[in-house]
């Protein structure tokens, strides 16, 4: 039917395709759709490949063969037997035979040899008697595919060296504090620091962020000029580089509020992990909280805005006050989405380095943080410090620390996602 037949007086206003042109037109539209679909798919593939490369790279560095060489041959001391096969008494005998009086006194003072178990004694023999040393490390891929070549090379250069597998990420690595020797260094202090700073940051930023979002969405009148200014500023703050927050944190929390952030005001004295300056976990947490606050507020506002107005009306219509409506109807409905914003924001805080360098995270620290007033370090800073060292082993433990950081992040995220799913399922929906 053409336009004329409907109303002959009406002027023609363009033509819609008719006959074979319809098929052509549809084919073209479908093709465009297919092309876009391909582009979307490519985006996903690109993201996945990038992520996978990153993970493979750090995993490649964190596991693999190592070559160790002892100054003294094991067989010589044990008389041809394996250290691991010896009894506790035999191990003690070996130590007494091979070590100087001075070293023995020191070891006995730490813990009498007779009271130590076999595993510990083997370790002591390896470091004190055999003086085992790391001479070469190989990444995972090379270790797997070119084992023969590696063996050849190692025997050529270090005839007495022994090849063995080493997982750089292991329980010892996680539970040992920092050390200036890469082989002995661990990330215990940094993990604890990261957990402390993250938890405190979340504790400060989450309630403040949610409350601010509620105020801006439910209470503030957007026609009033000062509310407009507040809103614009929050939107802009989300884009401010993190280093600026670091400078702010340094100026305010470390310097001006030092009596509070150092804990002096609360009667915290030095000793333990405490410092008597403002470069504490508390300052770091406040700085990080400021950094992620705009993101939490903005995503929170989006979540609150997405709650259908009809639900609010229904609640008001029953005689609910604004507060009751927000608390009982709006928040439960918005909470899963609010949590998504929180997850993203807190993840960002876990990975941030720059502001914490300014606020004064320590680069070398061996004491566990034990409270908000401790000095601290965090995983990203630990990683950064290690990558700056000239020795290759430090680069390897940096990779291992990255694996740990990823695991910590995964753990925090998984907890938050589970929490979100729990709230989603509680929010009974269609």
């Amino acid at each position: 039917m053409s336009a004329e037949s409907i109303n002959p007086e009406e002027r023609s206003v363009g033509v819609l395709p008719e006959g074979p042109a319809v098929k052509q037109n549809i084919a073209r539209r479908q093709l465009i759709g297919q092309i876009w679909r391909g582009i979307f798919f490519f985006a996903i593939v690109f993201g996945l490949v990038a992520l996978l490369t990153l993970i493979l790279d750090v995993v490649n560095d964190s596991f693999g063969l190592i070559a160790t060489q002892s100054e003294v041959d094991e067989q010589e001391i044990t008389g041809g037997r394996e250290l691991e096969d010896l009894s506790q008494a035999e191990l003690v005998a070996i130590l007494n035979e091979n070590l100087s009086r001075r070293v023995l006194t020191r070891l006995n003072r730490e813990q009498p040899l007779e009271e130590r178990d076999a595993a510990n004694l083997v370790e002591v023999i390896e470091t004190e008697v055999l003086k085992t040393e790391l001479v070469a490390v190989f990444p995972l891929w090379e270790s797997l595919t070119q084992r023969a070549a590696i063996e050849e090379r190692v025997t050529e250069r270090f005839p007495r060296a022994e090849l063995s597998w080493k997982a750089w990420v292991n329980w010892d690595f996680i539970t040992t504090p920092m050390s200036s020797v890469a082989f002995n260094a661990g990330v215990r202090t940094a993990i604890l620091g990261t957990l402390w700073v993250t938890m405190l940051t979340a504790l400060i930023a989450i309630p403040v962020g949610i409350f601010a979002a509620i105020y801006l969405e439910e209470y503030a009148d957007h026609r009033v000029w000062y509310n407009k200014i507040i809103q614009t500023n929050i939107n802009n703050l989300a884009g401010v580089p993190s280093i600026i927050y670091g400078m702010l944190g340094l100026a305010i929390f470390v310097r001006v509020l030092e009596p509070f952030t150092s804990g002096a005001f609360f009667g915290v004295s030095s000793g333990g992990g405490a410092t008597l300056n403002g470069r504490t976990i508390l300052s770091a947490a406040f700085t990080m909280a400021l950094l992620i606050l705009p993101v939490i507020i903005i995503t929170g506002q989006e979540a609150i805005r997405a709650v259908p107005n009809s639900l609010r009306q229904g609640s008001y219509g029953l005689g609910a006050t604004k507060w009751q409506t927000v608390w009982n109807i709006v928040l439960p409905q918005a909470f899963p989405s609010i949590l998504t914003g929180i997850i993203l924001a807190v993840s960002r805080a876990v990975g941030e380095t720059a502001p914490l360098i300014l606020v004064g995270a320590s680069t070398f620290i061996v004491t566990d943080p034990n409270g908000p007033f401790s000095k601290f370090t965090v995983l990203p800073i630990q990683i950064y410090t290690w990558t700056q060292q000239p020795e290759q082993e430090f680069k390897i433990i940096a990779a291992a620390a990255i694996v740990v950081l990823l695991i910590v992040m995964l753990f925090l995220n998984a907890t938050a996602v589970l929490l979100r799913n729990y709230f989603r399922s509680k929010r009974v929906s269609v």
Binding site: L311, S315, Y316, G317, L318, G319, N328, V428
Partner: protein, 266 residues
Amino acid sequence: MTTYDIDSSNANAIEARDMSIYYGAFRAVNKVSLAIEKNKITAFIGPSGCGKSTVLRSFNRMNDLVPTARTEGEIVFRGKNLYAPDVDPVEVRRRIGMVFQKANPFPKSIYENIAYGPRINGWRGTKAEMDELVERSLRGAALWDDVKDKLQQSGLSLSGGQQQRLCIARALATQPEVILMDEPCSALDPISTLKIEELMFELRQRYTIIIVTHNMQQASRASDYTAFFLMNSERAGELVEYGTTEQIFHNPKDERTEQYISGRFG
């Protein structure tokens, strides 16, 4: 403007006196005065945009939620002007409940949907008493038999008509005197619509009902009184005629009413 007082010997549930309602500078409703009789169903009819919903919402101050809205005139309820400065809209809405065009059950269980109203209004009692209140409200909305086995299921799992009756049950639970309904059946099939109409007849014994409808048949068969609204030349809604449904539909005094109900304009 005359006040259409239907029958002064009968107590009025609620009465509008010279109500004008503005959205910003726009006058949406112009000097509407009418008295709603107790325990009767009053229907508001009129073409789209003539201010029926606006007038209805002014009866329980839901218009206060629109930041630009402003009112002149009085709504008298229990001998008091609801727009007097010392009246809190929160209290008004407990006494004058509302059912919306689109069913809007809360994303909670059926039970919680009903219990919500009493709880937020400071209800106190035992779990057993709440169970009874929930049952009574659901029975009141003719929904009990449909849902008695699944009170813990989501209110959103019900059909459209059931959801609307859930919203009515929810309104009943706060023991209102007047129930405002804004096109409650516009999204429902004829069977569900009939069910709601039957329900309205039941409810009439204890509540006063005001209903906005575009369905002339519904107005004529389900209401006792009918008010006809129309926009004036400045697009402000005005009350044209108000009387018993019988009179409005069979013997309209105003020519425009007659044209509208016979489907000749609007």
